[in-house]
Symmetry: C2
Subunit: 206 residues, 2 copies
DNA sequence: TTCCATATAGAAACAGTGTTTCTATAACTC
DNA sequence: GAGTTATAGAAACACTGTTTCTATATGGAA
């Protein structure tokens, strides 16, 4: 089984080529922002015709989709490097901090994934799944909080979505220019995190 | 002072023409979404050359900016039609509901103002001011809550921003395709509202 | 009024986008 | 080696925002 057929070899080469193109696009994305991710610019960077990108990805959304999943991987890695704390409260706070850091250190990915800059692009099943996977630590900590009786809500995913929305809301208002500066934004973000922890990490028997 | 100079008359005519063009663009926005708001499409609807739009608005951002302010007026009107409740808690809840309704009934405006669909466009001072004015009821209810000693935070604007971010986060995740359906989204939205009220409308002496 | 200067609008063009078509060449099959 | 098929390259198409060019109309002064 070590010998690959030509067809397999060709397909494998296509996959590796796709990955190279995605990486080139990712560099464009991170260095020059989402609007620099253009078929022609990617083709120029790869020193190839635009046609081969269309042959491999079908259309631009096909490329964006892979960038989206790539961004999910980066986010997942960020979360994985957060050391698990004893107290759930501290762990949740650290995860929120990691999410903030991701939006700061990978603004290109953040805008592509969650910023709505590609009005046309909507994540489909696979991208949604990658997102959920990236948020796994959040889901885990909320699941534990539910099991510990801290949260009445049964579905951890719904709780995570409420938390996610709060954090994303602050970041996105800033990216959209609705909050004047970064310091103010971070203060609002921290306030949101504190509110969320008060809401979800305190015993509700009070 | 009733007689206008020609210069004034001309300028007035220009202002009225600008308003007509903004209204045409607004119809395009609401009927076909943000990506349909195109200089050429607006010019076609107005049956005029694209040049006169550039003469009046300088560039596309000039037109978008007026649409933004127009959207702020629509939002402000929505809030004004919310009858003030005795209990601050109920009033805040009603305002949150009005914000949700605005996003549903004026999705085009919402995306233009807060959706980040025009990657380039960022609101400047005047637009920011119009936004703050639109959110005046929110600021008022929070100010009263601070005066009543329900909230420790001193700056009502910052509190409103945290609330706004939570609500916007849910709506924007839905518009971006990260929440599958509208019913789920509304449930998350209501959960966020409940959390916010528990956080800001209950005496913190507990 | 007549003449000139200026302002303005219309059409076309430019530079950029996503995407498709056409064609020549390369690759694979027999 | 011949013939079919796949593929890549260049060019073209249909859009976008924006600018330029030119003819016209409009303004003010003699």
């Amino acid at each position: 089984m070590e010998i690959k057929t030509y067809s397999e070899s060709k397909q494998q080469h296509a996959e590796s080529l796709k990955q190279t193109i995605v990486e080139a696009a990712a560099i464009l994305l991170q260095e020059q922002g989402p609007e620099a991710v253009t078929i022609r610019k990617v083709a120029e960077k790869m020193e190839c015709s635009t046609k081969i990108i269309y042959n491999l990805f079908n259309n631009k959304d096909g490329l964006i989709k892979l960038l989206y999943v790539e961004g999910c991987n980066v986010l997942a890695t960020s979360f994985q490097s957060v050391s698990k704390q004893e107290k759930l409260e501290n762990y949740l706070r650290a995860l929120c901090e990691a999410y903030w850091d991701f939006s700061r250190n990978n603004t290109g990915y953040y805008q592509l994934m969650f910023g709505g800059v590609f009005g046309e692009f909507k994540p489909e099943e696979e991208s949604i799944h990658a997102t959920t996977t990236a948020l796994q630590q959040f889901i885990q900590v909320i699941t534990e909080a539910i099991e510990a009786g801290l949260i009445m809500e049964k579905d951890p995913v719904q709780v995570v979505r409420v938390i996610w929305a709060s954090l994303h809301g602050v970041i996105h208002l800033y990216l959209g220019g609705h909050i004047e500066n970064l310091e103010t934004t971070k203060a609002l973000y921290d306030k949101s995190v504190t509110n969320l922890i008060r809401t979800y990490m305190r015993s509700s028997t009070c």
